[in-house]
């Protein structure tokens, strides 16, 4: 009872401390509002305005028609170049795709001869080039069949009905907005919890608390609770008002379920932040340590590039040590696919396990650090 009361009062103190830190409040507000919107609008891995050049050696009506078919949003308006120019442009990275229409293309086609269109792909643009090339082939084939047999029924062998579950038009901001939100939770949680510990060590207040009848774990728990509550609340508000409200991204699943999972995740990351703080003495050192950790956690969470594309050993390692991978799976399942508790509970258990381990390590480290 007494311990609970101590935790409660210390938590209140932590919340006041956060409220008094103007810079941190502005940062939290900015990151959960403007930054979510800005970044999700920025670069993405989907094919979008891919720079294309055409070497038109035919200069026929048909070739002009093909060139016209290459259009935004998938492709940037194509540039017609000579062969050497196109080669130089591709080398300089100004054109990712180069389509070559051979001489006498239209005549040969009407004469029933087999003709070949060449697509050169700058394969250094790994994220877009492969998909871009197949979309270009698709676009050209369609245009050709319409041009060759106008008005005819599809000459296709089969009709393919394509559907996308959960995100019908594959709008990339639906994905990036929520992933950005999760990245922000990770970043702010690490910084906020770590900073709360280091600020106390730098100001000497931690010593003062420790001569009182307060146990170290009460301090640790109060810090996790206070910083976790702030970030969790901010992220939920951001999800409802910014992502769902302002950006119009539909949220498929139950908000309460997401809140539960996010609460577990927040505890795990807060403990990690405290753990990192226990290895450093100043905020400067903490910053140097926390930045690589943030970069790694975010890049390898599965929220940037699919987890299953990573090597097996790395996937195994990440699933064992990084709560972020589980949180990404959990959040995608709940928010995009509207999955219920019966399917996501194993991810929640994994996160809870990691949070428990992290809290235990922090407590052990904390005692040791204070003794030294």
């Amino acid at each position: 009872m007494r311990r609970l009361r101590n935790i409660l009062w210390l938590t209140g103190k932590e919340l006041r401390a956060i409220r008094g830190d103007r810079v941190m409040l502005v940062l939290i507000a900015y990151i959960f509002t403007l930054a979510v919107w800005l970044v999700s609008d920025a670069g993405s891995t989907e094919v979008d305005h891919l720079a294309t050049a055409v070497v038109d050696e035919d200069r026929s009506q048909l070739s002009a028609r093909l060139i016209d078919a290459i259009q935004p949003p998938l492709f940037a308006p194509p540039v017609v170049l000579s062969a050497p120019q196109a080669q130089a442009a591709q080398r300089a990275g100004e054109a990712i795709l180069v389509l070559t229409i051979p001489p006498d293309f239209e005549r040969d086609l009407h004469a029933g001869r087999e003709v070949t269109l060449q697509i050169l792909v700058d394969a250094t643009a790994v994220a877009q080039a492969g998909n871009g090339a197949s979309f270009l082939r698709q676009t050209l084939s369609q245009e050709l069949s319409e041009a060759l047999s106008p008005g005819a029924e599809s000459s296709d062998l089969v009709t393919v009905v394509m559907r996308n579950f959960f995100n019908p038009n594959l709008t990339s901001s639906w994905f990036s907005a929520v992933m950005q939100l999760m990245n922000n939770v990770t970043i702010l949680m690490l910084i906020l919890s770590g900073a709360s510990m280091i600020r106390e060590r730098e100001h000497g207040t931690i010593e003062h608390v420790l001569v009182m009848p307060v146990r170290p774990h009460e301090i640790v728990v109060s810090k996790i609770v206070a910083s976790g509550a702030v970030i969790l609340t901010a992220s939920l508000l951001s999800l409802v008002f910014v992502v769902q409200g302002a950006m119009g991204v539909p949220i498929a699943g139950a908000l309460w379920l997401y809140a539960c999972g996010a609460a577990i995740y927040v505890v795990a990351v807060a403990s990690l932040g405290l753990l990192l703080a226990s290895f450093t003495r100043t905020m400067g050192q903490f910053g140097l340590l926390v930045i690589p950790v943030i970069v790694l956690m975010i890049l390898l969470s599965g929220g940037m590039t699919p987890l299953e594309s990573m090597p097996d050993w790395l996937q195994g390692l990440l699933r064992t040590i990084s709560p972020a991978t589980h949180f990404v799976i959990f959040a995608q399942a709940v928010l995009y696919r509207g999955v219920g508790f019966s399917l996501v509970w194993p991810e929640m258990v994994m996160m809870a396990g990691m949070a428990a381990v992290a809290v235990v390590i922090v407590l052990a480290r904390f005692r040791k650090v204070l003794a030294g």
Binding site: R5, W9, R16, G20, S44, E46, D48, H49, A51, Q90, A92, E94, I96, L109, E114, Q118, I119, V121, A123, T124, V126, A127, Q128, A129, S134, R137, S141, S154, L157, V158, T159, V160, N164, F165, F166, N167, L170, S172, F175, H203, H208, V211, M212, G284, Q285, F286, G287, L288, P292, L299, L300, T305, E308, S309, P311, L314, A333, R337, G338, G372
Partner: protein, 902 residues
């Protein structure tokens, strides 16, 4: 005689706080001039203005015969002034050894190697530091640090030596040695003027001339003798109090010297054989004492002698290595919660929550100490009345004057009415009036309430008020007794003399008394241009040494890039393969199986268990286990052969749009292939007369790592060197060593380039390590000229370190520098420099934004050299642009870094 410095109507403000108010003062030359007064009256500001370290706001400041407002004069006199800032060893580099510190200062004044060695040897001999040339400055005792600081100040034979509270926090013996040293130096260089500030009034007695300051104004000047006669006081401290304005003086009450009532003789604190070791360093060495209830027990000793460690063991904050503590006969155990209720503790620095108001602090502590809820508010009101805090109840502690803050700390320590108070230097830096008020309260607590008080202090007049005192040195207690007994036992005149005698008896070697302390040199000052090189090198050399001794920064600089490269090289992969495909084959015909095989034949798809009905799909896709579902209807083969164009369904998991898009691309390819094959082999449908030939250039195997590694190289070499360079400058601001930049002839360009070089070199080494990593671990092919890329990389890291230095000009704390640099550099580098999205796909705005940072210029060359066979032509043009970036950053950093403090 011409004054060494002259101030005419000088005022100085920090924000809304006035530090100096219309000060007009002539400081006499050739002697020892001193400023006296408590903390925060403007002494430091005045000294910094005279030294030219701080930029003047209003009024005229002249030092050594010229205006410090003129840049040319400042540059001309900088080599003739030495400035030692406040704080123990604040302008020293703790990880550098004694000799290395002095080598650095020698270089800053452009001295050659032979001259430096000679001077250093002489100075170390004169100050008695000669036996410890290789000890890191951070491991020196307070007194030794100050001697080293003095060596650093004297290395260039200054004509004006400015010392800001050089003896605060130093034990009496070291203090005396320090002033004796100054006297000897002055004998050797009679023309030298010394201007110093002190909070110890006793010390000011040895000065030739004194200016007493209070609240930013000079309240009196003259020799100590004159001041005493003028006020009729018998001590300088008394004289100072007498000189204070009436309203402050009226608050002053002499501390009542009440006799201690005979108590029951219970022992409140008993320490037996306390030992604390940190590694092989013994901080406290068999300390024993027993303190009866109600006694005021004074604890004296220099900084770092083990006082604080002993007090922490008494509070249970630290566990002793050996020995026991008993409080009222009860042994203090580990994490002893009950015992803590009996102790009130006040630490050396202010340690209450600055984000809580005075009242909130009191309430929080009352709660944590378990003061009963019913009594809590009453108790808070009680202590607020008792310690005179009522007016400040809703103020933030940071806005309070130091004396009031100390009272608040004491109030907090007393909130639970503990029978024992442990106070660690509670009056350090507090002005005499407030100090006396504080002691009056302590007397009352002890005499009226029987509280046992264990207090450490540097002030001898406070020690004399204690019932008993103990003298501590190097972890051991030298003497315990009443002040009178100790004075008598040592046969000394005063407590201070007795303390010094006790310390001298302990000293390993007698105080050094070299015959000649003349740090003179006949060697001419070296050529000017050569000196600039020496100063620049001084910073590079020192930065390198410091970096080599800081494990966290070194880890970040060397291993950070490697770890990031490994993680990103393996982790950021766009090679989508083994996409899980679930099939609902309702036809189960040869044709439908052939279609399914078309999918499974390529590595991009992996077959997952089939699904039973379309209704199952949402659940199966729910956890992301199925990326793509293929639905082949009944009658597929029949329709196909009839030419009825059967309809098949492809459903993608759109949660990850990139993955869905890739899956669509591959699926369309499979279907086209299938149609083609069916047309050729079975004569179904028509073959398209147009074939496509798709060729992947530059990265034939189309592997992510081949393109990511050279791109990630760009990202890492932006982030890590920029953060390192930013921290290196801001660190100096935070630790105070930036004073050396302000106070010595080093120029801004020498400072910045000198500090940039080590990081530039380190980043370039990182570049080669990352290249080797890319070629070996990730087997990235190399088709271009690596030497040419190396040159471009050199220009790139020059630009990125320069970027960090530019950021550092605008940030004050290391943490701000780290995050500001990271945030500002990461967004353009990740989003607009071709890392993921090709620059050619960006809109005009994004493209321009990206091109405004060096990353977008380096990325194409990096990728091109590995994969596109780039050579000297491309590398040289990028090098030129990147060089321009580096130069621009440097120019802006120079403009934004003020040579004087503001």
């Amino acid at each position: 005689m011409e004054p060494v410095a002259r101030l005419i109507d000088v005022s100085h403000r920090y924000g809304g706080v006035t530090a100096l108010e219309a000060v007009t003062l002539d400081i006499p030359s050739g002697g020892m001039a001193g400023l006296i007064g408590p903390d925060g009256v403007g002494k430091s500001t005045l000294l910094a203005l005279v030294a030219g370290v701080r930029r003047g706001q209003t009024g005229q400041i002249e030092s050594l015969g010229g205006s410090m407002g003129q840049r040319a004069h400042r540059a001309a006199v900088a080599p003739r002034i030495a400035y030692m800032p406040q704080g123990l060893g604040r302008n020293l580099y703790p990880t550098l050894t004694v000799t290395e510190n002095l080598q650095f200062f020698g270089r800053l004044f452009g001295q050659g190697a032979a001259e430096r060695d000679a001077r250093i040897a002489m100075l170390l001999e004169a100050t008695g530091l000669a036996p410890f040339p290789d000890r890191p400055a951070g491991k020196l005792s307070g007194g030794m640090k100050q001697k080293l600081g003095l060596c650093a100040a004297l290395i260039h034979d200054p004509d004006l030596l400015i010392l800001d509270e050089p003896t605060t926090g130093v034990d009496p013996l070291s203090r005396r040695q320090f002033w004796e040293l100054i006297d000897r130096v002055r004998e050797a260089r009679p023309g030298m003027s010394v201007l110093t500030a002190t909070a110890y009034m006793e010390e000011a007695d040895r000065f030739d001339w004194i200016a007493a300051l209070d609240a930013g104004r000079v309240i009196a000047t003259g020799s100590p003798e004159e001041l005493r006669t003028r006020t009729g006081a018998d001590s300088l401290e008394g004289a100072f109090v007498a000189l204070l304005p009436e309203e402050i003086r009226s608050r002053h009450k002499a501390v009542p010297s009440l006799p201690r009532p005979q108590s029951g003789g219970r022992i409140a604190i008993e320490a037996e054989g306390l030992v604390k070791r940190f590694g092989d360093f013994t901080a406290v060495d068999h300390v024993s004492f027993s303190i009866p209830e109600g006694e005021i027990f004074g604890f004296l000793g220099s900084n770092g002698c083990g006082k604080t460690t002993t007090m922490k063991m008494l509070t249970g904050l630290l566990d002793p290595t050996e020995g026991t503590t008993k409080l009222f006969g009860r042994a203090l155990g580990r994490a002893d919660m009950a015992a803590r209720l009996g102790i009130g503790y006040m630490s050396q620095a202010f340690s209450l929550y600055s984000e809580l108001t005075v009242r909130q602090n009191l309430v929080l502590h009352a709660r944590l100490y378990g003061v009963a809820p019913a009594r809590r508010l009453a108790r808070v009101a009680e202590v607020m009345a008792e310690f005179d805090l009522a007016e400040a109840a809703d103020a933030m502690p940071e806005s309070l004057p130091l004396g009031l803050r100390q009272r608040l700390q004491l109030a907090v320590a007393m909130i639970h009415e503990p029978p024992i108070l442990i106070l660690d230097e509670p009056t350090s830096g507090v002005d005499p009036v407030a100090r006396d008020a504080f002691w009056a309260t302590l007397m009352r607590l002890s005499r009226e309430k029987g509280v046992t008080i264990f207090i450490s202090t540097h002030f001898m007049n406070e020690a004399a008020r204690c019932d008993r005192i103990s003298l501590m040195h190097a972890g051991r207690v030298l003497d315990i007794g009443t002040p009178e007994d100790i004075v008598a036992r040592r046969g000394a005149e005063s407590l201070e003399a007795a303390f010094i005698a006790a310390l001298e008896a302990e000293a390993e070697s007698p105080a050094p008394a070299p015959e000649d302390a003349r740090p003179a040199s006949a060697e001419p000052t070296p050529h000017k241009r050569f000196a600039a090189g020496t100063r620049l090198y001084a910073y590079s050399w020192r930065e390198t040494l410091e970096l080599a001794r800081d494990p966290i920064r070194l880890f970040f600089a060397l291993l950070g890039p490697v770890i990031l490269m490994l993680a990103m090289g393996f982790g950021i992969s766009f090679d989508v393969d083994r996409l899980s495909l679930a099939v609902l084959n309702q036809d189960q015909s040869a044709a439908s199986h052939r279609l399914t095989e078309g999918f499974t034949a390529i590595p991009q798809f992996a077959l997952a268990p089939p699904f039973a009905s379309p209704a199952d799909l949402p659940d199966r896709m729910g956890l992301g286990a199925v990326a793509l579902a293929l639905d082949i209807p009944e009658g597929f083969e029949r329709d196909l052969h009839r030419g009825d164009v059967p309809e098949i369904g492809l459903t993608f998991d759109g949660a990850m749009p990139f993955r869905a898009q890739t899956a669509q691309g591959y699926a369309l390819g499979v279907l086209q292939d299938y149609a083609q094959k069916a047309a050729v082999e079975e004569g179904l449908g028509t073959t398209s007369p147009v074939g496509f030939e798709t060729r992947y250039l530059f990265n034939q195997t189309f592997e992510s790592a081949n393109a990511m590694v050279p791109s990630v190289l760009m990202l890492i070499l932006m982030l890590v060197p920029a953060v390192m360079a930013a921290v290196s400058v801001v660190r100096e601001k935070e630790t105070g060593t930036i004073a050396n930049f302000h106070a010595t002839p080093v120029s801004r360009i020498e400072f910045l380039i000198g500090k940039q070089l080590p990081y530039l070199a380190l980043a370039w080494i990182s570049f080669w390590v990352l290249v080797i990593l890319g070629l070996t671990v990730f087997s990235v092919p190399l088709s271009g000229n690596l030497v040419a890329l190396g040159l471009a990389a050199l220009a790139y890291v020059t630009a990125t370190t320069g970027f960090g230095q530019l950021i550092s000009a605008f940030t004050r704390t290391q943490v701000a520098a780290v995050f500001a640099t990271a945030v500002i550099s990461i967004i353009p580098t990740v989003n607009f420099s071709g890392l993921v999205v090709p620059v050619s796909s960006l809109g005009d705005g994004g493209r321009l934004f990206g091109l405004a940072f060096p990353g977008a210029w380096f990325q194409p060359v990096s990728v091109g050299t590995f994969l596109k066979g780039f050579g000297w032509t491309e590398a040289l043009s990028a090098t030129a642009v990147l060089g321009l970036f580096a130069a621009t950053y440097l120019v802006f950093a120079i403009i934004s870094l003020p040579k004087q403090e503001r």
